[in-house]
Amino acid sequence: MNIPAIDLVLWVISAWMTVGLLGIVALHKFALVSRIFFPIGALAGLVLAIVAIRALGSGKVETKRLALGLPQLPFHLRLDALSAFFLLVIGLASFGISLFAAGYFRAGEGTAPGLLCLEFHFFLASMALVLIADDAYAFMVAWESMALASYFLVTANHRIPKIRAAGFLYLLIAHIGAIAILLCFGVLQANTGDYTFANMRAQNLSTFWASAAFLLAVVGFGAKAGVLPLHVWLPEAHPAAPSPVSALMSGVMLKMAIYGLLRVTFDLLHLHIWWWGVIVLVIGLSTAIFGVIFASVQVEMKRLLAYSSIENIGLLFAAMGLALLFRSYGMNAFAALALTACLFHVLGHALFKSLLFLTTGSVLHATGERNLGRLGGLIRYMPWVAWLAFIGVLASSGLPPFSGFVSEWLLLQSFLFTPGLPQPFLNMLIPIATASIALTAALAGYAMVKFFGVIFLGQPREEKLSQAHDPGYFEKIGMAWLALLTIGLGLAPNVLLHLIDPVTKGLVGVGLSHRASANGWWLLTPTSMVRASYGPLYFLIGVASTCAIAFVLVRLLYHARLRRSAPWGGGHPWRNSRMQDTAEGYGQPIRQIFEPFFHLDRHLPKPEDTAPEYHVVVSDKFWEGVFMPIARATEYVSAKVGKLQQGRIAIYLLYSFVTLLVILLLVPMATR
């Protein structure tokens, strides 16, 4: 029983592809596809996670050549610690999401269940393939199949024009990114004509070309990750997609972009230039703040989560930028700390954001509503979904003792080390960066309280909500898996740090784990005990035991009873559920404070209106400022070019004739 890990990964990938192809055979056999195929896909995900953990433990680098595709261009595959870590992310998240999908997809999704099964599993398989690809060719094939599979999944309900539009926007930006990535690989191979990553690693590029490759990678992978200003597809595509797909895209696919950027900047490029770090750091911070501010004012639950994903991607970029900065000054131990924060958050975010997207799926199916203004009070009718979402919300707000806090803590710790940087300008930048991270974390709490409070707490804002009920077993198990992992990750972060160790050792040569666990696995001490420590388990026991003691003491000492009655509400004689804060109302302080960020379209009722009407639409300034001008210019140019197309054969023959004449004229000139 000593099969190489990379073979096992390939087995999982082919299992996913087989399951997908079986979906075509059973195109309309709904029960077969959902009850059998999707759980099999889930099991394959679990196997992948186990394989990845084993590969991380063994620390071996395995390579393989597959004679697939074009002749003379075999797929080079390679499994190292970085790939294994991201495979772990796919495996753990996809197990929960696939199980959920088994219960979720139903007849009315707009696409035949078998076809959904095909797209879903090819999506998973291509993501895994991206991670083990070791040449530009295999990478681009996998990357593009990932984009296409997810495009078809986003447009599952393609009869709705808005969903089609969202899908096209996604495809467009995905391809702008893909072009940049392709050009990046072109620069990296340095005219040798050999597109394997091994060859790229061996090249010694000049500062100019290395920077060009770096910038292309930032644009290319940034478009996929959704950093400013290429984020516009994210809040459109996520709400359009069915919820398990949104979960997979937001939780897992965005991380593929993080993987790609890590691969290029830390593995393929050897130059250490300080301003690379500054660029990534600044992009990350502005994306994070932008994302969280927009998340706070959204009135649609999946858009809110999509903007929250933009924020988290921003945090990941900030951590990566800091790691680049440290590495460029040779402070590899601190670079490892920042990278650890980044990787920890990659997994943490993959789990809690998938969980939150899945809960919105359950809410959507149970109520048919995605607008926050028509939800409310669901904790009474859907307790399972509500409490599981609660765990996701607490983790997403970065609260101890959940997983979101650990990565935030590690990130802030690595920022606090920056006074050691030898450049005054950077040292000035750091307090501002630290403060923006703190602001982002606090605002994330605001957005999440809005998300949870408006959907699950309070009184139902519509009559029909009282008919809502919890989903079936598959969905519950899928969400519970993600919730349990989120809790586990928060309580025992050292376990994951142990797995991250080989990754940071591979990228910057230093591992944190032995120091982080020096005082026991329950205490996280990234540098030294004196410097900083955090013990989530202690923390939980401290809060829980004081809670319990308070409860017991109050009960023992006092014997007052509990009565139920109507809410007091300040003693007003009548009230209804419409008097609660709406989602718009909850976002109002943010709209007021951060007004310059938004493009506001607001209509306020006047006192003399007989039918008063209020609406406010918050839109993104990047649309008007960046994308619409480009779109208008493109349309203008194509309208001009369109004049060439007259639609008559004679005219086209004339074009051919003129072209021929010009060529005949040019050829003698060139040959002379």
């Binding site: 101890p400 606090l416 606090a442 013990g535 004081t546 009873r561 509990l562 009565r563 509400g569």
Partner: protein, 313 residues
Amino acid sequence: MTKVFSQFISIVTPILLAPMLLGWVNQVRAWLANRSGAGIFQPYRMLHKLFNKDSVMASTASPLFRFVPYLMFGCMLLANAIIPTLSTDLPLASAADAIALVGLFALARIFISLAAMDIGTAFGTMGARREMLVGFLAEPALLTVLFSASLIGQSTSLTTIVEAVAHKHFAIYPSLVFAGMAFILVFLAENSRVPVDNPATHLELTMIHEALILEYSGRHLALMEWTASLKLFAYSTLGIALFLPWGIAQKATPSSLLVALPSLALKLTLIGVVLAVVETFSAKLRIFRVPEFLATAFLLGVIGMLTHILLGT
């Protein structure tokens, strides 16, 4: 053994003294307003009364609502347990550093806001929104304050910071001056004091904290009130630990506690007087001026960190 004893003292002291600090502030406020006041033991009588009353709970309340008072109490108690008040020899302090302390306050804030939204009345949701508004500005401001201090102590562990500030040569740190100003603003906002909130008001348009706990009664309200006083105590002792730590004991021996306890009492008395004076001489801000107030605190905190880096001390 002294470790456990020291930790025990640092948990019991806040529980017992916190209401008295609140009573003292109210008493001084009364004196300043030319009233005779109810005495510093009034909060204890209040708690006793509330614990003995039946609790009336809204029929729409979910389990979250019942659970939150206990959780709040637990959070604030843990916060007090990790802030070095009498000695810096706290075994629990290794579980949570300065960042985790801010996280703990944030946890409490999010739970109280969610509990207020749970009933679904207009006041509750309005209070929750305002509390989160104050919170998302005060939280980063508090973090920058703590970072200014941790840059001096080269550590985010509260005990290490306090030892660094207390046992070095007496020196004035310019960064701590800015941080101190920021801290005062955060202190007022986080404890729902004038000028951000008025603890004595029940006017719907002005209240924040009172709106949050409007639906609580009986023992739950008692726990909430006790929690509020524990929070005031935690912030006061945090301010003392960061900015006036002299006299704190390194080991919790009886003799060192003999010095630490009176000095803590003296400092708390002073803080109570200052708080009462500030509250008496300032007017409540409009709610939309509050962000400016807190943004000032945030910027002061950032300037504090910048000062440290520029001056290198």
